[in-house]
């Protein structure tokens, strides 16, 4: 009975820490991104709020919270107000299965550095990623604006298309780790990270995950210069902020998934596991920002062709090749 209470309290503490870290991380990632993009373009980026503009996210949040929360006249009111929460919630929930460190031993109890060690963790990740589509599609549809609708349609089509290579690219990883649990996948990389064994999978996963979280060069649902702001054109104030935050949290989640599946998670020499994990996540994020500065947006038919005609066949071949090699090896 007492053990149960202690475990519950520990879980709550872990939840609070992870949630706060994620939200703060997402906030300051906006700052890092704007700063880096600025320097990539030989500008300063935000540098007014505090030293180096460090308090820019706070200023942004104050602005978003005090802005008027407008709803378009002909909008589907309930869906319009509801959909931003879908994106923010699903992306926050995604982090629940990500192991971010080695288990700590506290008074003889092992505290795993993961909120929930699901034995079907990967399926959980895919399920929540798919739910995120609803936030985009419903938000775009409920706004009753042509730009939002086009953005929502594009978002739905793109996210559904790229889910397939995303899932298929992870099948070899599951085959190597012989488990759906993210903790087991990290443990299976004790000897070598899976990127060594599965470079093709890694590239496929990174590409399709970039499309899944709608980052440049796959940001067609937003496409500022065609669709104003795509599916969140009509949103203002903190509802827009929720979309925005969902996007940045999903970037952190993507970074941690890449780290967990391919770079050995929290494993690394010399430094503590948590530090290694954070470093790996930030490498992914840095690369994403770099890519945003370097690449133009894909055309819609190029996007679809890349997804269906390139990524999916390669992913299938990769699965077959991995299976054959494992069969020969055993």
């Amino acid at each position: 009975m007492e053990l149960w209470i202690v475990g519950f309290i520990l879980l709550i503490i872990k939840l609070i820490i992870v949630l706060v870290a994620l939200l703060l991380g997402a906030g300051w990632m906006v700052w890092v991104e704007r700063k880096l993009l600025g320097r990539f373009q030989v500008r300063f980026g935000p540098n007014r709020a505090g030293k180096f503009g460090f308090f820019q996210p706070m200023a942004d949040i104050i602005k978003l919270l005090t802005k008027e929360d407008t709803v378009p006249g002909e909008a589907d009111r309930f869906l319009f107000l509801f959909s931003p929460a879908v994106i923010a919630t699903t992306t926050l929930l995604l982090f629940a299965v990500v192991p971010f460190g080695e288990g700590l031993t506290f008074r003889g109890r092992l505290i795993p550095m993961v909120i929930a060690d699901f034995n079907v963790g990967i399926l959980y990740v895919f399920a929540l990623l798919s739910l995120g589509v609803y936030g985009v599609a419903l938000g775009g549809w409920a706004s009753n604006s042509k730009y939002s609708l086009l953005g929502g349609i594009r978002g739905a089509a793109q996210m559904i298309s790229y889910e397939i290579p995303l899932v298929l690219s992870l099948v070899p990883v599951i085959m190597l780790a012989r488990s759906f649990s993210l903790v087991d996948i990290v443990n299976a990389q004790a000897r070598y990270p899976f990127i060594v064994a599965q470079p093709v999978s890694f590239v496929l996963f990174s590409l399709s995950a970039t499309a899944e979280i709608k980052r440049i060069p796959f940001d067609l649902p937003e496409a500022e210069n065609e669709l104003v702001a795509g599916y969140h054109t009509e949103y203002s104030g903190m509802r827009f902020g929720l979309y925005f935050m969902g996007e940045y949290i999903s970037l952190i989640v993507l970074g941690s998934l890449v780290a967990v599946f391919f770079w050995g998670g929290w494993r690394g020499p010399f430094l503590p596991p948590l530090v290694w994990f954070i470093i790996k996540v930030w490498i992914v994020i840095f690369f994403m920002i770099w890519m945003r500065g370097a690449l133009p947006r894909l055309r819609y038919d190029q996007l679809m062709r890349l997804g269906w005609k390139v990524l999916i066949p390669i992913a299938l071949l990769n699965i077959i090749a991995t299976g054959a090699l494992m069969r020969i090896g055993s």
């Binding site: 320097r39 373009q41 300063f44 770099w290 500065g293």
Partner: protein, 184 residues
């Protein structure tokens, strides 16, 4: 339908182009930004840049404006208004002169139309206000105590005007010809 392919080179060339783009950005990380930090650093604007309008004085310290209404007439947004009056001795001046800077588009037509170089635009653009009515400038706000861009110019000292000095005493003016002694 077969869509036109954009690529013209080999995949290898495409990859090289991609990499060069990424590399250029990476180099930019170590370059100092070219941005001018505005409130701290103010670039000196060209003397002829067009912003806040002033009414200048001639070298004698007198108002140049003769209230001819040309600026008011040429103003495309009708932001200039005035009332002319005449001093003893016949010299015209503006009893009141008003420019509504909330309307002004800083096109500079008034400056071009002005025959006496009285109305001029200056490079000073930092005069935004928290109240739109504060942007209505009266004559005392507009009038300055210098000659603006052409300090030596005085309308009345040039040919054709007999307010200051007699005929033949102005700049670029020949003495008047006695038409009665001009027989062939």
């Amino acid at each position: 339908m077969k869509l036109q392919e954009n690529s013209t080179g080999s995949p290898w060339e495409g990859l090289k182009a991609l990499a060069s783009g990424f590399f250029t950005l990476f180099k930019h990380l170590f370059r100092y930004p070219v941005t001018e930090q505005y409130p701290e650093y103010k670039r000196t604007l060209p003397a002829r840049s067009r912003a806040r309008i002033i009414l200048t004085r001639d070298p004698d310290g007198d108002e140049r404006c003769v209230a001819c209404y040309l600026c008011s007439a040429v103003c495309p947004v009708s932001c200039i208004s005035m009332q002319s009056a005449e001093r003893e001795g016949g010299r015209r001046y503006a009893r009141w002169f008003r420019i509504n800077f909330a309307r002004c588009i800083y096109c500079g037509f008034c400056e071009e139309a002005c025959p006496t170089l009285a109305i001029q635009l200056t490079p000073d653009f930092e005069f935004s206000k928290d109240d739109i009515l504060k942007l209505v400038y009266e004559k005392e706000d507009l009038l300055v105590d210098h000659g603006g861009k052409n300090r030596d110019y005085s309308f009345y000292r040039h040919a054709g005007v007999t307010m200051v000095g007699d005929k033949g005493t102005h700049m670029n003016e020949l003495p008047p010809v006695d038409i009665k002694s001009n027989f062939p």
